[in-house]
């Protein structure tokens, strides 16, 4: 069975979602719930930390596609950081780096939020 978890941290600059495990069509709903919870709590500056994410399929990518417009309309953004190479490859296949900030570190994403760079 796929193992996936998402935990939340709030910093002065952003809400950080630490993803761990494998994100597929079975576990994507957990990410969906996590992002929805963040939005319900008024958190629109989201950093997706992929340091411990080992796998993603299009169902996982679809969650970001489905939410990012609403988040940007609310003055926020989804910034994706610290992806492992094989996971970055999948984001890249669909062209994510052209429409999302995909950054090496959490700190860089936080700095962009602090600088008011909400949109990519």
């Amino acid at each position: 069975m796929s193992s996936f978890s998402v935990t939340f941290r709030t910093t002065p600059a952003a809400q950080i979602l630490d993803l761990s495990g494998e994100l597929d069509a079975h576990t994507a709903q957990d990410l969906e719930v996590a992002i929805q919870t963040s939005l319900s709590n008024g958190k629109f500056a989201l950093v997706i930390n992929g340091a411990n994410l080992r796998y993603i399929s299009s169902a996982g990518l679809g969650v970001f596609m489905a939410f990012v417009e609403e988040i940007r309309e609310n003055g926020g953004d989804i910034k994706i950081v610290a992806l492992q190479p094989q996971v970055y490859d999948t984001f890249d296949l669909l062209g994510f780096p052209h429409l999302f900030d995909v950054l090496p570190t959490i700190e860089e994403a936080e700095a962009k939020f602090m600088a008011g760079e909400l949109r990519h």
């Binding site: 796929s2 969650v63 094989q86 669909l94 994510f96």
Partner: protein, 159 residues
């Protein structure tokens, strides 16, 4: 790019096909088991890491589509994953008894921008399968349907 060390071909080697199969329920909680099965055999076949990831992803997308579309999310049916490996290629047959893939009803997402604007994340599985594999075919066979995926092992395969 050649995935394998040079081999000496013989009629016997070309004819020899190793076959492995796994049967799982049409439930997304088993996608990870299918990935482990593919990963293990692609690794034994000598593919480099990036190619193993590509095969895994393509098969995952195909199984997800079978569950969502062929079986319309009914999770009590079955998917049979059959791997056939020979010196030339790694072939995966995903056999099911649901609705066959309707080519004429499939609309490829326009692009990522359009998906974001529409706030829809679906439809990218077929795109990825075609991008990652050397051959993708849909077959209606005697009593079952099959999604057929091929990754070449030697020259001219997609990297």
């Amino acid at each position: 790019m050649s995935y394998l060390k040079p081999v000496v071909f013989s009629d016997l080697m070309i004819q020899q096909t190793m076959q492995y199969s796994l049967r799982v329920p049409s439930d997304k909680r088993y996608l990870a088991d299918v990935r482990r099965f593919i990963e293990a055999h692609a690794s034994i076949a000598g593919f480099p890491e990036f190619a193993i990831e590509h095969i895994k992803l393509a098969v995952d997308e195909a199984c997800t589509n079978i569950i969502d579309h062929a079986y319309q999310r009914k999770n009590t049916e079955a998917i049979e994953v059959v791997i056939a490996v020979d010196v030339l290629a790694f072939r995966i047959s995903l056999r099911h008894r649901g609705i066959p893939f309707q080519r004429e009803q499939y609309h490829r997402p326009q692009d990522l921008r359009a998906s974001i604007n529409a706030r829809k994340g679906g439809g990218w599985g077929v795109f990825l399968m075609n991008k990652l594999m050397d051959e993708v075919d849909y077959r209606i066979l005697d009593g079952y349907n099959e999604v057929y995926l091929v990754k070449k092992r030697l020259l001219n395969g997609k990297s």
